[in-house]
């Protein structure tokens, strides 16, 4: 049976060159980077090199990169670290996020609300776009942070970052972006986006899982996320995940070199899938923005079928896809993102997400175009609501 992986938003395979680069740090180079002896210094140099590689990918300088263990940790660090710094400096208690943020941002915001902070949750339009005017209107004198994701992990919509960045800059408010879905996938430059904090994760661009980073612009006052030793300049204590960090660095280097080529290859495949499915299945709708979307993202709603039922049937044909995000899929909750773009409960339940990667082929797209229509037809036949 064929095996087709169309779930890159949940995690990419690890690039063979990343694996190769990591191996010595799982074997002979085992020293602790904080140790002064040569074993430690070899590991320390490897971490420094990776820091430079990640910095270069996003147009930052090395000392602005802080390694963490996941995109979720980076987002928690950004929101909670900024909230505690605002408290320390007596600089207000209001933050602004969008309604379609990843749960690691939304739940951090909700946590802060319970601690006495105030949060504005900005709505989005039917494509999932935040209106920069809404950001400006929500600003208060005591606003210390705006956090808007660069691109949404479900519907793939890319937000108007630079415009929002101009507003936060003008108001002298720190701007954080969860860019886990975009770094290594589309060009990201912290100056062009106008961000002060930015989260990224390695397993979205062919790096290993369990390693990520937070970019913190020099001069931004933020409280450490893990207290302890001197690691990550005192802001994120704990012995470094050296093999993971090395892998993240190499993945960043490869992404920087190949980003345009990967996009050129993926976009036509995605469009072939979108056009093919819209043309061969009735009552199927594309969600997200027609042009401002991630290269590999194709998100649909289907009437009269459960998304999860389609996923199971596709899996039996060897196709890995998702219904909503990896995080909500298991929770059997309808997605807050689809609710925010105004989808009915029924259409939200019938959601189907394909995310393509650099190694997918036209044959794989055609295989999905061949197997999916009969699956949908079969599931609709047993639906009590469907009538042709």
């Amino acid at each position: 049976m064929r095996s087709v992986y169309f779930d890159h938003a949940a995690g990419t395979p690890v690039h063979p060159r990343v694996v190769e680069a990591m191996l010595p740090y799982l074997r002979e180079v085992f020293g602790n980077p904080s140790s002064t002896h040569s074993f430690g210094q070899a590991a320390h140099q490897a971490v420094d090199r990776a820091r430079g590689q990640v910095a270069e990918l996003i147009g930052a300088s090395s000392e602005e990169i802080y390694f963490t263990a996941s995109g979720s940790e980076s987002n928690n660090f950004a929101l909670k670290g900024m909230a505690l710094a605002a408290q320390q400096l007596g600089r207000g208690k209001h933050l602004i996020v969008s309604q379609i943020e990843h749960h690691s941002v939304l739940h951090s915001a909700q946590f802060l609300e319970r601690q006495g902070y105030e949060v504005t949750y900005l709505p989005v339009d039917r494509y999932g776009l935040v209106d920069p005017d809404d950001v400006a209107a929500a600003m208060r004198d005591d606003t210390f942070l705006v956090s808007i994701m660069h691109a949404n992990n479900e519907i793939g919509t890319i937000e108007p970052m630079a415009e929002i960045g101009r507003i936060t800059r003008q108001r002298d408010v720190v701007f954080h972006s969860d860019a886990v879905q975009t770094v290594g996938v589309v060009p990201v430059d912290v100056e062009e986006l106008g961000v002060d904090l930015l989260s990224l994760a390695g397993n979205m661009f062919y790096g290993p899982k369990g390693v990520a980073a937070l970019y913190i612009r020099s001069g931004v006052r933020i409280m450490p996320f893990i207290d302890g030793g001197i690691q990550e300049r005192g802001r994120r204590a704990g012995t470094e995940n050296v093999p993971g960090i090395v892998g993240l660095g190499v993945a960043a280097e490869l992404a920087r070199q190949e980003i345009d080529e990967r996009r050129r290859r993926i976009v036509p495949l995605r469009d072939r899938l979108i056009q093919g499915l819209l043309g061969s299945i009735e009552r199927i709708y594309l969600n997200g923005h027609p042009t401002e979307r991630l290269p590999g993202n194709a998100h649909f709603s289907l009437e009269y079928v459960e998304g999860e039922a389609v996923i199971v049937a596709l899996d039996m044909q060897g196709v890995a896809a998702a219904s909503g995000s990896a995080c909500t899929s298991l929770a059997l909750k309808s997605s807050h993102v689809l609710e925010a773009i105004g989808l009915s409960q029924e259409l939200a339940q019938g959601s189907l997400l394909f995310t393509l990667g650099k190694d997918n082929t036209e044959e794989e797209v055609d295989y999905v175009l061949e197997v999916l229509p009969p699956i949908v037809a079969r599931l609709r036949q047993i639906s009590p609501l469907y009538s042709k």
């Binding site: 320390q88 006052r221 001197i230 005192g234």
Partner: protein
């Protein structure tokens, strides 16, 4: 308030002592003799720890400016 021109800034915001001192010891290696390092700290312990560290190491403790919620400590490399 004293205004001191610093050649480099070390951000130890929110970091608890003695880590800011360890960070200072590392950072000051990057400076030339005679240059001034500004250490940003929130830990009140810095008020005693930095002069004590300077006495031990021979660097010149220039003073401390207390802002709202943070300290700026100045050290000249010797």
């Amino acid at each position: 308030m004293v205004e001191i021109e610093a050649d480099a800034v070390l951000d130890a915001f929110g970091v608890l002592c003695p880590v800011p001192i360890i960070m200072t010891a590392k950072k000051i290696k990057e400076l030339e003799v005679g240059q001034v390092l500004e250490v940003l700290s929130t830990d009140p312990g810095i008020r005693e720890d930095m002069p004590a560290w300077c006495r031990q190491t021979g660097h010149q403790y220039l003073g401390l400016v207390e802002g709202e919620g943070e300290y700026r400590v100045y050290v000249r490399k010797r």
